[in-house]
Each structure stands twice: as C-alpha cells, then as structure tokens.
C-alpha cells in the first residue's frame, strides 16, 4: 500500500463509506434532499465531462438531454404505460439516439460554432416541450409516480447513489481504454489525430451519444425524485449550470464532476440566506477558479500533490 495508492483509493473508499451511511447519520430531510439533487446533477456533469473534459467538445445542450430523458420517462410511463425500468432504459436510449441525430448535424461545425449550435438545440427543445401540450403537458407539466419501492426518500438516495457509482465506473473505464485514447487525441490535437488514422467525426459522435445517454439518465432520476416535471427540466440554464459544476470541479478528471457539482450546488443552497447576493459571490469565486485553477479543484489538488511529491523526491534523492 504505497502512498500513491493510499491517496488514490483511500479517499474514494472513505467517501464511499460515508455515502453508504449518509441518510442515517442524523442529517435533516432538507439536507438529504439537496444531496440527492447534487447526486443527480453530478451524473449530468459526468456526462458533460465525457464530451467536454475528455473529448474537448463544449456542449451547451446537456440541459436539453436531461429534459428529454425526464420527459421520455414521464411519457413512456404515463402515456404508454410501460414498466418503470423499461421506460427508464428506453428514455435513455431515446436520448442517446437524439444525440446521434444532433451530433450528425452539429459536428459539421467546430469550436465556438459547435457551442452555439448546441445552445440553439437546447433552446429549441425547451420551446418544443413548453408548447407541445399534448405530449408534454406544456407549462402545466406532468406528474411521475415511480415504483412503490422508491416512495421513500432514503430509497431514492440509494438509487441515485447506485447510479452515481455506475456512471463513475463508466467514466473510469473510458478514461483507461483505447476508446478513451481516441477521445483525448481528438481533444488535444485534432489534426494530428486525423493524420494518425482516427475518424474524428465518428469519435466525437460516439462520445456525444454516451454523454447524452447519461444526461438522459440524470433526467430520469431527477423526474423520479421530484415526482413532477415542467419545461424548466429542459432549460438551457441547466446546461450552463453543468458547465460551471464541471469547470469548478475539474474537467477531464475522474472525480472533478462530483466534487464540482457538490461544492457549487451545496454552496448555493447554503447561501440562500443572503438571497440573490449569493450569485454575486459565486460569480466572483467562479472567475477566480477559471483564472487561477483552470483545472478546477481536483486538477489543482493533483498539481499540488505532484509538486509536493516532486520536492520530497528531490530531498530524498539529494
């Protein structure tokens, strides 16, 4: 058990242990609620990490895919009467499929143009959901009732925890795989990756589809937990939130999305006491993070650790 391993796995195991017993260590119902939402949003942030942190494509459409997952679940259970789990799986697959269609269009553009296209798509989805009364219930929204099993808050907490771990696992596997190599190649030097035989468009679309599936999953869980849906579930403001969570936590890192989402979401919840001013404070913090910690909290910690380890080695070697 080297120092390196202890750091890598020790923190994770400690956090996991805490997470397993969280609902029973005497936190308030409100706190648990906030944590469940943070968990759900961290899944969406992890989805953004795959397309943005690993593949370098900034998507402002994750809010739309969150909403498509949520509404997909609602429509499939309420209107089509599907079993909850089937509906959830199908909703995620539909979201991934929409991601494919959008990707085929959007990846004809690059850089800032791609970002604008994704933002436009998000806007379109929001407007469609808001106005297509028959399908979505319009502004009135829809109710969702999940299985009896998840009527209780604790049960939903463990469901979300399970999916957070699953998503983390998927991200971990991607980051260590040949597929992940392709993603990073596209992120770091697209023309070179092209010249090295990597199909750029195909790689981007695969990353995007995985990302959309997971965003849809987050949407399903969000719908289940709230018990109710409205067009704000697909709002483009959600997309900006995910970007912020990811940047603060650390894009391209494994734990960055979770750290960033929990940090920002919990901080904003706690600062509700000072009203709208919390956004001002938060804005300042965000600017500081982007300037001084461009690699986010996790990225910054990693660099710090490297410096400490480096100087320690230098001492030992001397």
């Amino acid at each position: 058990m080297t120092a390196e391993n202890l750091r890598k796995y020790g923190v994770f195991i400690a956090a996991l242990a805490v997470a397993c017993f969280l609902p029973y260590i005497g936190i308030s119902k409100f706190m648990l609620n906030v944590i469940i939402y943070a968990g759900i949003f961290s899944i969406a942030t992890m989805s953004l990490n795959i397309i943005m942190g690993y593949t370098g494509q900034v998507s402002l459409a994750q809010g739309a895919f969150y909403g498509i997952g949520a509404y997909g679940l609602a429509i499939l259970t309420n209107k089509a009467g599907l079993n909850f789990w089937m509906a959830m799986l199908l909703a995620c697959l539909i979201t991934a499929f929409v991601g494919l269609l959008i990707g085929l269009l959007a990846f004809r553009t690059k850089g800032p143009y791609f970002i604008i296209v994704t933002l436009c798509f998000n806007f379109i989805v929001y407007v469609v959901i808001k106005n297509w009364d028959w399908l979505s219930g319009g502004v009135r929204g829809q109710k969702i009732t999940g299985p009896e099993l998840f009527a209780g808050r604790e049960a939903r907490y463990y469901l979300v925890l399970g999916f957070v771990l699953l998503t983390l696992f998927i991200m971990w596997r991607i980051s260590r795989s040949l597929e992940g190599l392709g993603f990073m190649a596209v992120r770091d030097n697209e023309p070179l990756a092209d010249a090295l035989g990597i199909n750029i468009t195909y790689t981007k679309i695969v990353a995007f589809m995985i990302s959309c599936f997971l965003a849809g999953l987050a949407g399903c869980l969000g719908a289940l937990h709230t018990g109710y849906l409205s067009p704000t579930s697909a709002h483009y403001l959600l997309s900006f939130n995910f970007i912020i969570y990811l940047l603060v936590g650390g894009a391209g890192t494994l734990y960055g999305p979770i750290v960033g989402t929990f940090t920002v979401y919990l901080a904003l919840e706690f600062m509700k006491g000072i009203g709208e001013y919390r956004f001002m404070i938060f804005g300042i913090i965000l600017i500081l993070v982007v300037i001084y910690f461009p690699r986010g909290i996790v990225g910054g910690l990693k660099s710090l650790w490297k410096k400490v380890a480096g100087s320690r080695q230098a001492e030992e070697g001397a």
């Binding site: 596997r173 795989s177 190599l181 770091d188 070179l192 695969v206």
Partner: protein, 236 residues
C-alpha cells in the same frame, strides 16, 4: 500546384527539394489528404485516394510528420505512441466496459509503442511529457508515431528542422533504418548535402511545378535546378 506527376517506389527514399514556397508541404498535404486536389488523381497502393480524408489515407498505410512537429504535448511519450497505434485496434466503447478484446489489444498496443520508442531511441523517456522534450527528441518521436501504425510509406516534412548540427547524423541514420525495414520514405529537406546523400531519387519543385526529377547526381547537374535553387556555387 501545377501539373505534378510523380511516383514513389516501395523501399526507396525520395527527397523533395525546392525554394521556400515551392509547394513542398502543399504536395504532402495533397498526398496525405489534408488538401483536396482541384484536378488530377492520386493513387496509393493501387487505391484511388483523390479527395479522401486524412484518416482513411493513414489507415491505408501512409504515415506522416509535420513541419511544426505536431504532438500531444500534454501527454507522456508512451501515450503519444499508443494513440498513434489506435487506428490498428478494433476495441470500442462497449469493449471498454467488458474488456475481453480490450485487454489483448491494450497489451499489443503497449508492446508496439515500446518497440517504436526503442526504434527511435526514446525508450528511456517513455513517461516524460512530450512537450518537455528537446527539439530532436520531439522530431524523433513524431517519426516513431508515423511508423508505429506499420505504414507502407512515410512522409517526413523537414525532420531536422530546428535540430542541432550534432543530431542530424542520428536522424539520417534513423531514416536509413526506416528504408531498411522496407518502408518507402518521402522526405522534404532544406539541408542540401543531407538530402542529396540520403535519397535514391530527388524531385525538385519550384512555383508549384516539378522542374526536375532523377538521381541526386542528375538533378544537381540540371541547369534549371541550378538556376532556380542551388546557385552557381554548388558542386556535387
């Protein structure tokens, strides 16, 4: 480019020379797919690759380096190499989740990456970050990355650009070793003595046109070439 008509034969080294702006890198960009020709055809190993995308041409077996030494600067050397080998693997997203084929291919990629690093003499720096290397190491890494995918032809664009005089002979030796392995080489160079000594044939470009083609001796004696580029002071 204007009326380029040339062939590169297997197992030979063809040097591309010409004054600045003659169109040498443009020629490479046309061959490896970064540019589409407005007329004419390009075939590679019997396949018509006119207008094909770079990644398809790379997969057919054409490797290439760039004048500005394009690398994955933030990543370690062995990862740079692994990425260069990625096109020869089949594992996709689902393989990353259920890593049966993935494990095998990962092991193979690691092995080939190691071999390629040894071939270019960088095995000791496998963990170093590419951006931190000196210029000669970066150039050698780029050559290794062009080779690890087992190409039939490599295009080397100024492999000794910005390289110190003491390291040039090492690069020459490396290029000869590439030829010994049966890979055809097309090399753009400004260092006349180097490219004349290295190449089996020379193609001279000026203003986008081929003004001479032949052995180094034939070309250095060609009055057109002397007039355009070598200057009257050069003697073979």
């Amino acid at each position: 480019m204007d009326g380029i008509d040339m062939k590169v034969e297997a197992g030979s080294i063809v040097g591309i020379v010409g004054p600045n702006g003659a169109g040498k890198t443009t020629l490479f960009n046309l061959m490896s797919g970064q540019l589409k020709p407005t007329s004419g055809r390009i075939t590679f190993e019997g396949v018509d690759i006119t207008g094909s995308k770079p990644f398809r041409i790379a997969r057919l077996g054409m490797g290439r380096t760039f004048q500005n030494t394009s690398l994955f600067d933030r990543l370690p050397l062995k990862i740079n190499m692994a990425i260069a080998r990625r096109m020869r693997t089949q594992s996709g997203f689902f393989d990353s989740l259920v890593p049966l084929r993935e494990r095998e291919e990962e092991a193979d990629v690691a092995r080939r990456a190691g071999e390629a690093l040894e071939f270019v003499g960088l095995a000791g720096s496998a963990e170093s970050i590419a951006g931190s290397l000196p210029q000669i190491a970066k150039k050698r890494l780029a050559v290794g990355m062009a080779l690890v995918g087992e190409p039939k032809l490599v295009l080397l664009d100024e492999p000794t650009g910005g390289v110190g005089a003491g390291d040039i002979s090492g690069m020459i030796e490396l290029i000869c070793q590439i030829k010994d392995r049966g890979v055809a080489v097309c090399v753009i160079e400004h260092k006349m003595r180097m490219v004349m000594g290295l190449s089996d044939r020379i193609v001279v470009l000026n203003f986008g046109r081929k003004i001479a083609c032949g052995t180094p001796e034939e070309v250095s004696g060609d009055p057109e070439v002397i007039k355009a580029y070598l200057g009257s002071g050069y003697s073979a």
